[in-house]
């Protein structure tokens, strides 16, 4: 399907003019427009749902002449990620993505991208891991790389997807960071739902995003270097330590980049790492990542109207983990209830990954809240407004009693 006349007019406007335009599109469309604006050089594609939409829109934008990039159809996901790793090594700005088991098939290349320090940006259309087969969202695919040097961010609207893609390139390519970024987007709920969002003009993106510069690490006949050598015990500790430092630097860089983003585009996300929603004076705060924010925010509004002191904290950046913000927003509340669209079997309290990380972050806090964990929405099962109300009621009950009776609840599991 080619670009419609209306879309064509709008794309011309953002590519040539100075004004943003408003469009309707899916979460993956929004990422594709961001890639057009970021002027990526190479992308490699392999079909898998729900990430696949971005691939289709990019192909269309290239075919119709709105984007100039090498579009390489890979043999499989491992191939896909190897292609962008090598392209990034020779100085190309790259984009790649996958979902669920596709993302995991590429895992060897995915780890090499971060340990070789190439600022690849990837979209993970979050999907349950097979088996058993499921197309719906779960966050375990992206979380599988949480320990190997990928920056991980979760978005919850198409607008945020577009903006975060631009932000991701700027953060990843910062010389103080030079690590890849994985942008997570809930499969179906965001990848395939249509939103109204604004596409900023390319002129502003050029002000925001400088050209990709690998410096003395660019593989080129005029700059003879060896990359990815066999180094064994003599060097590995030092190379991992460099990554540790880069990941820590990323916290500062992310703050700078969001400030700059607000200045140039006029859209201010406030705290870059977390989105606090009515958390002031809250007794109970629910925490989650991705589109689960929608029913929970609605529940917060209605419960607040009834006088219940509840709030919501949406985690955007999971790596680097926003420890300071977690302590700041959560240490003084009575009950923190974490909704995990993932699982971590056999983890310290048999809860989800987000719950476990937040628990760990709060260990150093002066005050520690009671903590509950809802494992829910697995395999794409919907978490509705009513579910959010139920969860809040359970947490409010714990707050009143001053005691959590069941720490981890598999929400809605059929007995």
């Amino acid at each position: 399907m080619s670009v419609t006349a209306l879309e064509s007019k709008r794309l011309e406007a953002v590519l040539k003019g100075d004004e943003e335009v408003e469009v309707v599109g899916t979460g993956t469309d929004a990422v594709a427009y961001a890639l057009m604006l970021a002027d990526i050089d190479v992308t490699s594609a392999y079909p898998i749902r729900p990430y696949g939409g971005v691939m289709q829109t990019v192909a269309r934008l290239i075919a119709d002449g709105y984007m100039k990039a090498e579009y390489i159809v890979a043999a499989h996901e491992h191939d896909q990620f190897e292609i962008v790793k090598h392209a990034s090594a020779v100085g190309a700005r790259t984009f790649v993505g996958s979902s669920g088991v596709g993302w995991l098939l590429a895992i060897e290349a995915i780890v090499a991208i971060s340990t070789d320090r190439y600022p690849v940006v990837a979209l993970i259309g979050n999907r349950a891991l097979d088996d058993p087969g499921a197309y719906g969202v779960e966050h375990n695919d992206a979380l599988m790389v949480r320990d190997v040097g990928w920056l991980l961010v979760w978005v919850d609207t198409a607008q945020e997807a577009l903006d975060t893609t631009l932000i991701a390139y700027r953060v990843a390519e910062d010389p103080r960071v030079m690590l890849p970024v994985g942008i997570s987007m809930d499969g179906a709920f965001l990848t395939h739902s249509e939103h109204v969002f604004k596409i900023p003009p390319k002129s502003k993106v050029q002000k925001f995003l400088p050209p990709y510069d690998l410096g003395n690490r660019k593989l080129h006949p005029s700059n003879v270097i060896s990359v990815a050598p066999q180094v064994n015990e003599d060097w590995v500790t030092e190379i991992r330590k460099q990554m540790d430092e880069a990941m820590k630097n990323a916290r500062k860089v992310i703050e700078e980049v969001y400030r700059d983003f607000a200045k140039i585009f006029g859209r201010d996300y406030g705290n870059p790492f977390v989105e606090p929603y009515m958390v002031e004076d809250a007794d109970v705060v629910m925490v989650g990542m991705g589109t689960v924010s929608k029913p929970i925010k609605e529940a917060v509004r209605r419960l607040r109207a009834k006088g219940e002191k509840v709030g919501f904290l949406r985690i955007r950046w999971f790596r680097p983990f926003p420890t300071d913000d977690i302590i700041r927003y959560l240490s003084d509340v009575k009950v923190v209830a974490v909704v995990d669209r993932d699982y971590s079997f056999g983890s310290p309290f048999d809860g989800g990954a987000v719950f476990t990380e937040i628990r760990s972050a709060l260990y150093e806090a002066e005050h520690r809240p009671l903590m509950m964990n809802f494992i829910g929405g697995l395999g794409g099962r919907e978490i509705t407004y009513n579910d959010a109300i139920n969860m809040f009621n359970m947490a409010l009950d714990a707050a009143r009693k001053g005691k959590v009776e069941q720490r981890v609840i598999w929400y809605g599991v059929r007995e």
């Binding site: 060896s226 990359v227 050598p229 030092e238 460099q242």
Partner: protein, 245 residues
């Protein structure tokens, strides 16, 4: 323990000096121990086992060696080789600290994480540069000797050498930087002119670790002397390829 034809005193000219005393054991034989995997069935294995039984019976007795060799094919032939070494082919030499080739060990400098390029990238060598830390040391058993009189300047040795050992001379010959040679023999194998690159046992030479001769310069300085020297080495050349001989 080494397997060589040379006596221990001859070997000590090539062995780097150590801080502590040790016993040098020479088992008379054609092949070095390092060649086990290349020439597995020439008797070296059996001779070395016999030698171990002779000098270190606490590790392996002659009876153990016999028992093992009798379990293999051609047992009597194998046992005889072991006995031969046990009885007459082993020479011992007590080596004092400092005896041997003057050599000072310096541990490599390993950079800190702030000094390294990120991601483990390493600056490459510029064209015509060699890594001074990556010489062959005393590792090689054979070295290439070039008959420049017969060389047709085809460049195959230069192209095929896995360690980029060959320097191009101003008049288009290819001169091996012997310190970097690992003795693999590929140059001799690919050389299209018979007896132009020959591989000769390292023990035939007086020069060695850190002070190899410059073959091209020797040839330039005195072609007649070089030709005679080459001809003296020719009968000792390792047979690299049946096709070529």
């Amino acid at each position: 323990m080494v397997s060589k034809r040379s006596p221990p005193d001859e070997l000590l000219k090539f062995i780097p000096a150590r801080d502590s005393p040790y016993t040098l054991v020479v088992v008379y034989g054609e092949r070095s121990i390092g060649d086990f995997w290349t020439f597995p069935d020439d008797g070296t294995v059996e001779r070395v086992l016999g030698a171990i039984a002779k000098v270190m019976p606490n590790i392996l007795t002659l009876d153990d060696v016999k028992k093992y060799l009798e379990s293999l094919d051609k047992p009597s032939e194998r046992v005889n080789r072991a006995l031969e070494a046990y009885q007459s082919l082993v020479k011992l030499r007590e080596v004092k600290p400092g005896e041997g080739l003057p050599y000072k060990y310096e541990p490599p400098h390993l950079p800190g994480w702030k000094d390294m390029m990120i991601g483990g990238a390493i600056p490459g060598l510029k064209p015509n540069q060699r890594n001074p830390y990556f010489t062959g040391g005393t590792a090689k058993h054979y070295r290439p000797v070039i008959n420049f009189d017969k060389c047709i300047k085809c460049s195959l040795c230069w192209e095929y050498c896995p360690d980029s050992v060959f320097d191009v001379t101003p008049d288009g010959y290819f001169n091996p930087a012997l310190a970097y040679c690992k003795g693999c023999g590929i140059c001799a194998e690919v050389c299209p002119v018979p007896d132009t690159i020959i591989m000769v046992d390292e023990m035939e030479f007086e020069d060695g670790y850190g002070k190899f001769i410059d073959e091209y310069r020797a040839w330039k300085e005195n072609r007649e002397a070089y030709r005679k020297w080459f001809e003296s080495l020719l009968p000792k050349a390792q047979v690299i390829s049946v096709r070529k001989r």
